[in-house]
């Protein structure tokens, strides 16, 4: 099968990638564009560690053929991290110790980012609902949920 060029927006820049059909967005981001914050815990849609935002919606990049994002806007932890520090959500994760090994953290951050943009002051239940697809094996989730709650409260 012949390769083709797919163009999309990654953060604030336009990127062109040459791909064989059915290459996933995860593979392109990690291995062509160096966005290794996009993790690969299962590569079968089960863990949420590869979550990115497509037009602001959380998506599992391991299940998404890159052709699906042609002409669309993609965000990762790398594109969303301010150049001069960390976001309030990232700071809340740091303050609350909302990680241990850190492998699920990028996916958690992207899912929580989408939630907070949609609902700046989510209830505890709304956070649980939104984060249900992101697996963490270290923390037991409590500090993660608390960090998202704290980030929502800090927005005032």
């Amino acid at each position: 099968m012949s390769s083709s060029i797919v163009t999309f927006t990654l953060g604030d820049r336009e990127v062109d990638v040459m791909v064989t059909p059915m290459t996933t967005l995860q593979t392109v981001l990690r291995y062509q564009l160096g966005q290794t914050a996009v993790k690969e815990g299962c590569r079968q849609g089960g863990c949420g560690s590869c979550t990115v935002l497509v037009e602001g919606e959380p998506m599992l990049s391991c299940l998404l053929p890159v052709e699906e994002v042609a002409g669309r806007h993609v965000r990762t932890v790398e594109t969303d991290t301010p150049t001069d520090g960390v976001s309030p959500l990232q700071q809340a994760f740091l303050d609350g110790g909302a990680f241990q090994c850190g492998y699920c953290t990028p996916g958690m951050l992207m899912t929580a980012t989408a939630l907070l943009e949609r609902d700046p002051h989510p209830t505890h239940e709304a956070i649980l609902e939104a984060m249900a697809g992101n697996v963490c094996r270290c923390t037991g989730y409590t500090p993660i949920v608390a960090a998202v709650e704290a980030a929502g409260e800090r927005r005032g």
């Binding site: 590569r43 790398e78 850190g102 492998y103």
Partner: protein
Amino acid sequence: MSPLHVVGRSLPRSDGIGHVTGRTQYTTDHVFPGMLHLKVVRSPVHHARIRGVDLCEAERVPGFVRALTHADVPHNVYTILGLIGVEPEEEFVLAVDRVRYKGEPIVAIVAESERAALEAVARVKLDLEELPAVFDVEEALRPGAPIVTHWGNNTFMYEGHPCRRVRFGDVEAAFARADHIVEGRYDTKPIEHAPTETTAAIAVPEANGRFTVYTNTQALYFSLDNTSIILQVPGNQLHFIGGTVGGGFGGKVDVIVEPLATLAAMKTGRPVKYAFSRQEEMQVSSTRSAWRIYIKDGVMADGRLIARRVTSYADSGAYSRQTPYALTKHAANAAGPYAIPNVAIDAYCVFTNRQPTSAMRGFGITMASFAIEVQMDKIAERLGLDPWAVRFINAYHDGDMKPHRKLVEDATLIETMQAAARLVGHELPAEYLAMTSTPRPEGEA
């Protein structure tokens, strides 16, 4: 002014910024030009004799680079704890003429892409003669059971004995004079650690003849030293880089991916990545052992334990890995944190045709604690006593001798139970609140 700089203070984690910005580099975040991918042909059955392996079709897959078989591995039989004198060597890097568990590696395929490697793996033809398999620890010890090991029985041998033994006092005599005999059987299941990052290594040939190996092992020098032994190269040719582990819990202390990745890098002169899929992580990587524990206790009417016999079986799966060590720890702890004057423990490390089992959080001890504490509740129920009382009455003190001849020091069971009672709002009788773990008065023990 306190001389302590860290204790009592809350400090930011040094890896915190990396974790929240996604800049922490885990093993497979390292990418090298020309990197090859290694995938493994695994046994589809639990126990079989290997009659033949046909690589013809696999070799024709575009992107196929080479296959590795047991004949390519300089020292193909190893045991991880050989580094600390555990014998015998018994696990095969790549199977020779038999497979002993479903998922056992037979051939490694190295290819230009992961897709090509998987395609070639799917085209390797195995000619297997399936053999009877055994999956239960007690069935594995019965006469006529399929033999898993190469030494003729299904147990690890501890100094010539089929189990790790502890003998303290006279258990049978104490059972004879006990007011009650309380028996229990406790079974636990295997548990997969399921780290969010799968087990992986990348081996890179360097210009100076060395190999840099990126790995997410929890035990860097276990991996380095075993790789050195398996590949028969001096340790100073191997530069292992680890330390960043995306979840381990004991599941990444075995040495599985580094030797093959490094061997493939040696044979091809190119960087080679060997990363488990999620399926391999769940179905092939070590789990916590399943345990079966029998406890027989002799108890007096007032709740005093005067004798305990424990017979334990840990399912090691097809190979040892860290499980023989688990049984030794288990035998040292199977009487629990209690002062029992007569104890006998037989702890068997049993081989079956299940996937190998190994370390996981307190392995050998966690399961003993589960069995013992349920047993303590059972004693309380049988005797109509408060479960707290049964534990306070029998709690060990500093200066007590444990069954494996270790003097108790720094005992804290009594104080821990007092604190736990406070935290859950349980009112303890004054006599238990007054107790301490300090040595018993002369003559009372």
